[in-house]
Symmetry: C2
Subunit: 209 residues, 2 copies
């Protein structure tokens, strides 16, 4: 399979390096190949550097590793992608990593907070199934439990509570982070029910030194 990567930023180069180590030659396409000659040469002889158009032409599987706005332009620039697999590795990030620029407009937690006068609302215990809430033990480690809230003291109380229940309590900061935690719950729900994986799994955070 001919794999092309559009973009030679940190995501594109990271994927290219990993693919090459897995034995997949890659073609990297950028608007101005000369600017990226050194970085691509460092990947070794199995990495080909060319223009974006040429990389698309050669690729059976094309990975978009460019900023989101560029991904939209690239997607629209061709009249027909002719059945190519187009892997979207982008995220519609707002400037300053402030959030997603589309698709997330509010959260249940913020709606609750807007109605709960005088409450210090904290989002927690929403991202995993009831079996995991009842019993957090996994042989591989502790399930993660993200906690978000605007009141720091309240958030710390709930983080401590989650830790007492055996979770890897993860401080997400402001309540608006519930915009990402409710979709994280949907990842779990979607896998458990719509993808038929059942309920005996949990998400964890792994770290390396």
């Amino acid at each position: 399979m001919q794999i092309s990567i559009l973009g030679a930023g940190n995501v594109g180069l990271a994927l290219a390096g990993a693919l090459l180590r897995a034995g997949e030659p890659v073609t990297i396409g950028v608007p101005e190949p000369a600017r990226h000659a050194d970085a691509v040469a460092a990947l070794g002889p199995q990495a080909r550097l060319t223009t974006s158009d040429d990389a698309v032409a050669r690729g059976e599987l094309v990975i978009l590793a460019v900023p989101y706005a560029a991904a939209l332009s690239i997607a629209q620039a061709r009249a027909d992608w002719q059945g190519r697999v187009l892997v979207d590795a982008t995220n519609p990030l707002a400037p300053g990593l402030a959030g997603l620029s589309l698709g997330t407009t509010t959260s249940g937690a913020e709606e609750v907070a807007a109605r709960a006068a005088g409450a210090r609302v904290v989002k927690a215990f929403n991202t995993t199934g009831a079996e995991n809430l009842a019993d957090s033990r996994y042989a591989q480690g502790r399930p993660m439990m993200p906690v978000a809230g605007d009141d720091a003291a309240a958030r710390q109380q709930v983080l401590a509570l989650a830790a007492r229940l055996g979770f890897d309590a993860v401080d997400m900061g402001p309540l608006s982070a519930a915009r990402y935690l409710e979709p994280l719950a949907m990842v779990w729900i979607h896998l458990a029910f719509r993808q038929g994986q059942g309920r005996r799994f949990a998400f964890a955070r792994m770290t390396r030194g």
Copy 2:
């Protein structure tokens, strides 16, 4: 700390059981306590069953373990929550677990697909940092890599590719699941940058038999 749980469904009872095992007495509040007497009695003598109003009155920390619509009503029903910590464990689920009923309207991947005529768009490689894309090895296990796309064959190709790169490739089904995968990316980005945890972590899926 006096902990009250509103709701005696599977989430409420799961949390109550776990809290009791951790040595925290709990008060469970429901609209009709008599209907839940057996389930709460089964939790043991440290579980108190009462009305929702009484549970709120007693609780310093109140956990909403009810359907989302009920959470909104409960939040609004009190003129002043008097500084209580209100833990929102709900999710604004659409009927049939079809998705979130608010806050997720589209995704970058769907916008790309709308523009990429003739392409078989797959969402992947967007949910973790470039370091993890470059090198997926963790002592604790394999990082997960969720993959979403409407074309089954294309999705399988990308799942296989993710597995070759050392990931736990997770089949998310349709491209619309990118509505949850882009926020999942934001969980990573938010922790790495806004919460200052750095980039040396990854999410994993743990299972139990």
